[in-house]
C-alpha cells in the first residue's frame, strides 16, 4: 500500500533534520504567510473545524471545536488577560508511541509553523512545547528551529508585519507518563506536582497559570499548515471515510518491519499490518493494541477495520495514537497484561484511590496468575477492577486507559487466563494466603 506523505513529506531517509532554508525551499512558511495575510485571527479556527481535524494525542477531540472554546478579546481588548497560551503536548509517553519524535527530530519547522498559525488562530501570545525528558534530540532541533524562525521574523514581535506577537519556549519534562495528560501537564509546567485537574473548568477557561490555554498534540498541530495551505477540500479527500487527512501509523512488537508510515485515515488495519511486513517469523497474529498501550485489543477478526476514529471505535477499541503494539500467537497474554499494568501502576500519579491502590493490586494478581499462584476468584476480582476503575470512577483517564487492554484481554483471552489458576487452588483465608501464597 502506497503511503500518503503529507506530514512526513520532508522527512529525509537518513533522518537528517530539515533546517530553515530547505524548509522554505520545500514550501515551508507559505501557510503562515497565507494565514497572516488572507485570514483574520478568528478565521483560521473555522477552517480547521471544517476540515474535521481531530486530536492526534489519543482522545481524537475535534481540534477546531476545541479552539472555538477559547475566549476572544478582539472586541474587548481591555479584558485581555496577561497571557493566552498555546501548549504543545510533546510528552509522547504512551507505550509503543514514537510518531511525534520523528517529526520533531526530522522536520522541526513544521511544528513551529503549525504552532505560529495555531497561536494566531486562538489568540495566544505565548507558546510552550512540553517535551518528553528523554527526547534530547528533539529539544536540540526544536531550539535551533525556534532560533532560526526568530532570526527570519517568523517569531517574536510583529510577525511578518502582521502585528501578531508570539514567543515559544521549550520545557523538558521531568519524566512521568501522567505529564502527558493535558491538565497534569499544565500543573507540571507551573512547577507543581503533575496531578491532573478536574474538568470543568477546561483549559480554555482556566489553563496554564489560570489563563486561557489550548493544549494540542505535536502531530495535530503539524496538520494545521497543510490545511491552511491546501484547503479544506484537499484535506478531506486524503481520508478514506468521514475523517479527513492523514495519520502517522506505527507498529512495534512482533511485526517483520517495525516503524512508522503515513496513510489516509480509514485505511484497513490489514493493509497497515501488511505494510509493516506482517507478523514476523511466519507466525500468526494473536492480537494488537491499535493505538498505544491504553487502547483495547483488536484480534485477527478485526483486520478489515477501517483505521479511523469511528471505525476503530466500532470494533471496540480506540484509534489512540495509531501506533500499534502487535503480538504473535505464541505470546502468553498474561505477560502482556502484567507488563502493561506494571507500567500503569507505576505511572499512577497517586492522586485518587482506585488508580493508586487498585492498579498495584491488579498487577500483583497478574503476577500471581503468571507464576501459578492464582486463586479462584482472581478473574472476577480483575473484572471488578475493570468496572470500578472505569470512566467517572477515577479522577482522570489514566486508570480507565489502563483498564482498556485488561478489559479486552479478559474478554478475548478469558479461558487462557482462567486456565492459569491451578486446578487444586482453593481460596485461602487472608492469613493462610499471606503465609502460603504471598504476592
Amino acid at each position: 500500500m502506497e503511503q500518503t506523505k503529507v506530514l512526513t513529506q520532508r522527512i529525509r531517509d537518513d533522518r537528517a533534520p530539515v533546517w530553515i532554508d530547505d524548509y522554505i525551499n520545500e514550501g515551508g512558511y507559505e501557510a503562515l504567510n497565507k494565514a497572516l495575510s488572507d485570514y483574520g485571527p478568528t478565521e483560521v479556527g473555522p477552517l480547521i473545524k471544517e476540515a474535521g481535524l481531530r486530536g492526534r494525542g489519543g482522545a481524537g477531540f475535534p481540534t477546531g471545536v476545541k479552539w472555538s472554546f477559547m475566549p476572544r478579546f478582539e472586541d474587548r481588548p481591555d479584558e485581555r488577560p496577561k497571557h493566552v497560551y498555546l501548549v504543545v503536548n510533546a510528552d509522547e509517553m504512551e507505550p509503543g508511541t514514537f510518531k511525534d519524535r520523528m517529526i520533531m527530530e526530522g522536520d522541526p519547522h513544521q511544528l513551529i509553523e503549525g504552532m505560529i498559525i495555531a497561536a494566531y488562530a486562538i489568540g495566544a501570545d505565548m507558546a510552550y512545547v512540553f517535551i518528553r525528558g528523554e527526547y534530547v534530540e528533539c529539544q536540540k532541533n526544536l531550539q535551533r528551529a525556534i532560533d532560526e524562525a526568530h532570526a527570519k521574523g517568523y517569531l517574536g514581535d510583529d510577525i511578518l508585519g502582521s502585528g501578531f506577537n508570539l514567543k515559544i519556549y521549550l520545557h523538558m519534562s521531568a519524566g512521568r507518563y501522567i505529564c502527558g495528560e493535558e491538565s497534569a501537564l499544565l500543573s507540571a509546567l507551573e512547577g507543581r506536582r503533575a496531578v491532573p485537574r478536574h474538568k470543568p473548568p477546561f483549559p480554555a477557561a482556566s489553563g496554564l497559570f489560570g489563563q486561557p490555554t489550548t493544549v494540542n498534540n505535536v502531530e495535530t498541530i503539524c496538520n494545521v499548515p497543510h490545511i491552511v495551505k491546501n484547503g479544506v477540500e484537499w484535506y478531506k479527500s486524503l481520508g478514506h471515510n468521514k475523517d479527513g487527512g492523514t495519520k502517522i501509523f506505527g507498529a512495534s512488537g512482533h511485526v517483520a518491519k517495525p516503524g512508522l508510515a503515513e496513510f489516509g485515515l480509514g485505511v484497513k488495519l490489514g493493509d497497515v499490518l501488511e505494510h509493516f511486513g506482517g507478523i514476523r517469523n511466519g507466525r500468526k497474529l494473536k492480537g494488537l493494541l491499535p493505538g498505544g498501550g491504553s487502547t483495547p485489543f483488536l484480534t485477527p477478526e478485526h483486520l478489515d477495520t477501517p483505521m479511523d476514529y469511528d471505525g476503530v471505535g466500532a470494533a471496540g477499541s480506540r484509534l489512540g495514537t495509531a501506533t500499534m503494539i502487535v503480538f504473535d500467537d505464541q505470546t502468553p497474554i498474561v505477560g502482556v497484561l502484567k507488563n502493561l499494568e506494571h507500567f500503569y501502576a507505576q505511572e499512577s500519579c497517586g492522586w485518587c484511590t482506585p488508580c493508586r491502590d487498585g492498579l498495584p493490586w491488579v498487577e500483583k494478581m497478574l503476577i500471581g496468575l503468571e507464576e501459578g499462584r492464582g486463586q479462584p476468584g482472581d478473574i472476577e476480582l480483575l473484572d471488578l477492577h475493570v468496572k470500578l476503575l472505569g470512566p467517572g470512577k477515577t479522577f482522570c483517564a489514566h486508570a480507565p486507559g489502563a483498564m482498556g487492554p485488561l478489559e479486552a484481554g479478559l474478554k478475548y483471552y478469558r479461558d487462557e487466563l482462567s486456565a492459569l489458576i491451578p486446578d487444586d487452588a482453593t481460596t485461602l483465608s487472608l492469613t493462610q494466603a499471606a503465609n502460603a501464597n504471598p504476592l
Binding site: R197, S206, W351, D357, P360, W361
Partner: protein, 895 residues
C-alpha cells in the same frame, strides 16, 4: 436555590453548594476523606460516590463523586444505591491494601475518621493478599508525631498546610502508591498552625505528641468547653483530662471565631497546667526566704493575723485571669484599691482599643468576618506573633480575589483546586506597616517597616486621604504620599475593607489612627470592618472594669498608703522593670499571691501563696478582642486545697469578716452584673448552674468513658458518686443530656453516632456543615456604641535617636504557654536586632553581645542583623525568652 432529591426525599438547597456538603448538612451519613468543610472539594479519594440521575426518565444513573457534584435544580441522587455503595466499600478495601491495621496501638483510635468510614461503608474482609509498603517516619519536633504507614493519601494535610496555611515545608513526595507526606528532612514544622494537622489528618499519621506523652483514648477523657488563654482572640478549645492530668487541647468549633483551627501556641501551650513546680499547697515564706507549706487551718490563722494587722491592702488584678477572679479580688480589697494589673502603657493602649471598638460597635469583625474581607490594612501588629489565629484568617482574606476570579469564570467556590489554579498569585490586597519584617509579608503588598510613630502617621495619613476632614499629618514625601493614596483608594474601592490594629507596640496613637481610618471608611461603606487585638486573654475585660493600672498599686506601697499587695494570677515582673518591682516588694509588708504557676512573683516576691486553679481547674468568663464574653468551664477538679482564684479571694474576704456568700459562679456573676451594668451580658455567655435539659446536666465525658469504677481502685473499689458541680450545669461524668438542643456553650466534646473524629462529629451540631452552631455560636457581645464620634487628633510621640521596639514571638512572649515543655523547646534564643547600618554604627559584629539599658534595666544579648528594621531602631525580644516588664517603645542610648 435548587430543588433536589436525595434518597427519595426532597429538599430546597443552596445551588452554590456541592452535593456532599448538602447531604451532610441534611444529616445523611455519606463517607468522605479528601473533602473538608474549610478545604472544600478536590475529588481525590473517590469515597463519596453516589448515584446521579440525569432526569426522571433516567433509570440507569451514573456513579459520581458527591463532593464534585453541583446541586443543580432538579438533581436526583441516591446514596442508598447498590453500585455506589459497592464503590464506597471498595475504596476502603483499596486503602486497606497498605494501611497497617494497627488501631490497637494507634493514637487516633477511637476518634479516627478512617475507622468511622470503614464501618460506615461496611467493608469487613480484605481480599488483597500482597505485602504492604512501609515508610520511614520523621521526627517532627515536640508538637507532632509522624507515622506515615497509616497514610491513606487523602492529601488533606498538604492541602491544609500548603494551600490553606501557606506553609512550605510539608509536601507530597514520591508518586503512585508510594506517595509520602513529610518534610524534606526531620525537624519541626515551620508554620505556626501546624498542630491542626493532627485533626485534619483523618488517620493516625499526624498525632498530638503532647497527648502521646501521657496517652489515653478520647472516650476516656473528661473534657470541658474551654477558652484559650494565650492571646486575646478567645479561640474555643476542648481541653481533655484524665485523673487530674490535662492531656491535650483540641479545637472546639466556634462559627465566628476559630471554627476548625487553632494556633500552635493555643494547642500545645497548656502543658504549664501539669508542671510539678506548681504551688499546690498554701505557702508562707519563712525567715530564710523559703516557701513552706501550711495546712488549711494554719493558713487561715496566718491570714487572720495578716489581715488584722494590715494598714491597707491594694489589689493587683490580671488581664489573663477571668472577670470572676478579678472581681473577687476587687471585692476583697475594695473598689478603690483594685488595679487592673496592666502596666500604664498597656492600659492606655487597651483603653484606646476599647474606645475604638465602641466607636465602631457595629463594625467589629469576628475572625470569620476577617476571612470575608477583600482589602486589608494592618497597622503595627505582627499578628502571627501576637494574635496568631488572625494571621490564618488574613491568609484566607487574600484568597477572596481567587474566589472572585473563579466566580467570573463560573467555577464554584467549593472547587478547591480550580479556585486555586485560577487564583494563582492574584491576591486580595493586604497592606501592612510594622516595625520589622513579619511572617505575613509573603501576602503583603509592599510591606512598610516603620517605627511606631511612623506607623501611626501612616494610619492618620490614610484616614486623611479617605476623608479630608480627618486630621492630616505633616508633609509626607512623594513616595509615601503616593503609597497613602493608593492604599486609601484600594480600601475605598473594596467591597468589605478591614483595618487591623492592636496594642502590642504599646502606642495608643496607632489605635487612634486605625480608629480614624475606620471612621473615614465607614462613612462611605457600611461593610467596612475593624479588628483590634489586645495583649492578653482578658485585656479588654479588664479595660471594661474601669480601674486604675498597676502604677497605682506600686505607688500605694511606695508612699505607704498600703502595706499589703494582693496579687491575682499576675506576675509583677511582667509589668514593670525588676528594680522597681524589687523595691516595691521590699517595702511591702505582705505580698499575698493567688496563682497557679511558679512565676517570679510567686518564687521571689510572695510572702503568702494560695494555690489557685488554672483555666483547667476553674470556671470563668473572659472577654475577647471583639468584646465577646465567653465562659470556660472546669475541666477537672484539682486536689484540695487548690481551688479557683475567686474562691480564695472570697475566703480571704471571709477571713476579713466580709464573707460575700457566693455559693457558686451564678452568685458572683450576679454580683459583677450588679456592679457593672456594662458587663450584664456575661450572664448570658452560658447557662446558669441550675439550667437543665430534660432535667439533666451536660456530660463532660463521652458515654463510652471506660473503667470509671476502676479509676480509684487503689483507694476504694466502690464506685464513687461523681462530684456535683456547684458552678455550672455540667456533670463530672458521662451522664446527662448530650446532643440536639444542648446549649452550644456547654458542649464539652464533639461526638455523634458513627462520627467519632472531632472535625467530622461537629457537623451534627452545626446549622449547616462548616457554618454556625445550632442555637448560636457561644458568647455575648458586650461592646455598646460609644458617644465619641470625633476624629482623634493626629498626634504621635516621636523619639529622636535610637528607639527600642518590642519583638514578639508566638513561642515565648506569652508567659503561661512558655512554661509548657513543648513550647519551651520551640522558644527562640534571645537576640537584639538592628539593621546593617545600625550594627556598623554600634561597632558590634553580629553575633557578639550588645549590652543595652532599657527603662533603667540592662540586658546583654547577641546582636542580629535584620535588614528590614528602620534606622536607629533596636528590636528587643519580649517575653519569657527575652526581657519582661520594660516599657516599650522607648528611647535608648546604646553604647
Amino acid at each position: 436555590m435548587a430543588h433536589i432529591t436525595i434518597d427519595g426525599r426532597e429538599y430546597d438547597v443552596d445551588d452554590t453548594e456541592n452535593l456532599l456538603a448538602v447531604a451532610l448538612s441534611k444529616g445523611f451519613d455519606l463517607p468522605y476523606f479528601c473533602w473538608h468543610p474549610e478545604l472544600h472539594s478536590v475529588g481525590a479519594c473517590r469515597q463519596c460516590a453516589v448515584k446521579s440521575y440525569r432526569n426522571d426518565e433516567d433509570e440507569k444513573g451514573m456513579v459520581v463523586m458527591a463532593c464534585m457534584t453541583p446541586c443543580s435544580d432538579g438533581g436526583r441522587f441516591e446514596i442508598d444505591d447498590e453500585e455506589a455503595a459497592e464503590m464506597r466499600a471498595q475504596v476502603i478495601e483499596w486503602l486497606m491494601t497498605n494501611h497497617p491495621h494497627d488501631c490497637p496501638v494507634c493514637e487516633e483510635g477511637g476518634e479516627c475518621h478512617l475507622q468511622d468510614m470503614t464501618l460506615m461503608t461496611g467493608h469487613t474482609q480484605r481480599r488483597y493478599r500482597g505485602a504492604k509498603r512501609t515508610h520511614t517516619n520523621q521526627d517532627l519536633g515536640p508538637f507532632i508525631n509522624h507515622e506515615m504507614n497509616r497514610c491513606i493519601a487523602c492529601y488533606r494535610c498538604v492541602r491544609y498546610y500548603r494551600d490553606y496555611a501557606d506553609g512550605d515545608d510539608l509536601r507530597a513526595l514520591g508518586s503512585h502508591n508510594n506517595v509520602y507526606f513529610g518534610r524534606e528532612r526531620d525537624g519541626a514544622f515551620d508554620n505556626e498552625f501546624s498542630g491542626n494537622l493532627v485533626e485534619v489528618c483523618p488517620t493516625g499519621v499526624f498525632t498530638d505528641k503532647t497527648l502521646g506523652a501521657h496517652y489515653n483514648r478520647k472516650w476516656d477523657m473528661q473534657n470541658a468547653p474551654g477558652i484559650c488563654t494565650h492571646c486575646s482572640l478567645g479561640c474555643n478549645t476542648s481541653p481533655g483530662s484524665r485523673q487530674g492530668v490535662l492531656k491535650r487541647i483540641q479545637n472546639r468549633f466556634h462559627g465566628e471565631i476559630n471554627h476548625y483551627f487553632l494556633c500552635d501556641r493555643g494547642r500545645f501551650g497548656a502543658g504549664f497546667v501539669n508542671r510539678d513546680d506548681r504551688p499546690r499547697q498554701p505557702l508562707v515564706r519563712n525567715a530564710d526566704g523559703v516557701l513552706e507549706p501550711r495546712d488549711m487551718d494554719a493558713m487561715r490563722a496566718t491570714m487572720e493575723e495578716v489581715l488584722a494587722a494590715t494598714t491597707g491592702m491594694i489589689g493587683v488584678g490580671s488581664p489573663r485571669a477571668s472577670l470572676e477572679d478579678n472581681y473577687a479580688l476587687r471585692n476583697l480589697v475594695g473598689a478603690d484599691f483594685f488595679t487592673t494589673g496592666m502596666s500604664a502603657h498597656d492600659q492606655a493602649a487597651s483603653l484606646a482599643g476599647k474606645a475604638a471598638l465602641e466607636a465602631h460597635a457595629e463594625r467589629i469583625a469576628t475572625l470569620r468576618e476577617v476571612e470575608s474581607c477583600d482589602a486589608v490594612l494592618v497597622l503595627g501588629e505582627d499578628v502571627t506573633q501576637t494574635a496568631p489565629r488572625v494571621a490564618l484568617s488574613l491568609r484566607q482574606a487574600r484568597r477572596n480575589r481567587h474566589l472572585e476570579l473563579a466566580a467570573q469564570n463560573k467555577i464554584p467556590k467549593w472547587h478547591a483546586r480550580a479556585v486555586r489554579d485560577i487564583g494563582q498569585y492574584n491576591n486580595s490586597p493586604i497592606f501592612s506597616a510594622t516595625t520589622q519584617a513579619t511572617r505575613l509579608d509573603d501576602i503583603v503588598i509592599e510591606p512598610q517597616r516603620l517605627r511606631p510613630d511612623g506607623i501611626a502617621e501612616l494610619g492618620f495619613a490614610i484616614a486623611h486621604a479617605l476623608d479630608n476632614t480627618a486630621p492630616a499629618v505633616k508633609q509626607l514625601d512623594d513616595d509615601t504620599q503616593a503609597l497613602v493614596d493608593s492604599i486609601a483608594a484600594t480600601l475605598k474601592g473594596a467591597k468589605k475593607p478591614l483595618i487591623v490594629a492592636g496594642t502590642s507596640l504599646g502606642d495608643p496613637a496607632i489605635v487612634h489612627a486605625a480608629n480614624n481610618a475606620m471612621k473615614a471608611l465607614a462613612a462611605a461603606n457600611a461593610e467596612a470592618r475593624l479588628f483590634v487585638t489586645f495583649a492578653e486573654a482578658n485585656s479588654l475585660g479588664l479595660a471594661m472594669m474601669d480601674a486604675p493600672d498597676i502604677e497605682q498599686a506600686f505607688t500605694a506601697i511606695e508612699n505607704g498608703t498600703a502595706d499589703t499587695l494582693v496579687v491575682m494570677q499576675n506576675c509583677l515582673y511582667e509589668r514593670a522593670p525588676k528594680a522597681r518591682v524589687d523595691a516595691v516588694v521590699k517595702k511591702a509588708k505582705n505580698v499575698i499571691v493567688m496563682d497557679h504557676s511558679l512565676n517570679r512573683t510567686v518564687g521571689e516576691a510572695a510572702t503568702h501563696v494560695l494555690p489557685a486553679g488554672s483555666f483547667a481547674e476553674a470556671d470563668g468568663t473572659l472577654v475577647n478582642n471583639e468584646g465577646r464574653a465567653q465562659r470556660f468551664f472546669q475541666v477537672f477538679i484539682p486536689d484540695a486545697p487548690m481551688q479557683e482564684g475567686w474562691r480564695w479571694a472570697a475566703d480571704l474576704a471571709d477571713v476579713a469578716g466580709r464573707d460575700p456568700e457566693w455559693a457558686g459562679m451564678d452568685d458572683i456573676i450576679d454580683a459583677i452584673v450588679a456592679d457593672y451594668p456594662a458587663l450584664a451580658g456575661i450572664k448570658d455567655a452560658a447557662p446558669s448552674q441550675s439550667f437543665r435539659k430534660f432535667g439533666m446536666r451536660f456530660p463532660r465525658s463521652p458515654h463510652r468513658y471506660a473503667a470509671r469504677t476502676a479509676l480509684y481502685a487503689n483507694v476504694n473499689v466502690r464506685e464513687r458518686r461523681p462530684t456535683v458541680d456547684a458552678d455550672s450545669p455540667l456533670s463530672y461524668s458521662m451522664e446527662g443530656y448530650y446532643g440536639e438542643g444542648q446549649p452550644p456553650s456547654t458542649l464539652a466534646f464533639a461526638w455523634s453516632p458513627g462520627w467519632d473524629s472531632n472535625q467530622a462529629a461537629i457537623t451534627r451540631f452545626q446549622d449547616e456543615v462548616g457554618g454556625h452552631l445550632k442555637g448560636g455560636d457561644p458568647g455575648t457581645r458586650l461592646i455598646t456604641p460609644g458617644t465619641d464620634t470625633a476624629f482623634a487628633p493626629a498626634d504621635v510621640t516621636r523619639v529622636d535617636g535610637w528607639q527600642a521596639v518590642p519583638m514578639y514571638h508566638i513561642f515565648g512572649s506569652e508567659s503561661q504557654s512558655a512554661r509548657a515543655e513543648a513550647i519551651a523547646e520551640r522558644m527562640p534564643e534571645p537576640v537584639f536586632r538592628v539593621n546593617a547600618e545600625g550594627a556598623k554604627t554600634l561597632g558590634i559584629t553580629p553575633g557578639n553581645d550588645l549590652s543595652l539599658t532599657i527603662d533603667g534595666e540592662t540586658h546583654a544579648f547577641p546582636l542580629d542583623v535584620d535588614p528590614s528594621l528602620p534606622d536607629q531602631t533596636i528590636a528587643v525580644p519580649v517575653g519569657m525568652h527575652g526581657v519582661c516588664g520594660v516599657r516599650l517603645p522607648v528611647g535608648v542610648e546604646p553604647k
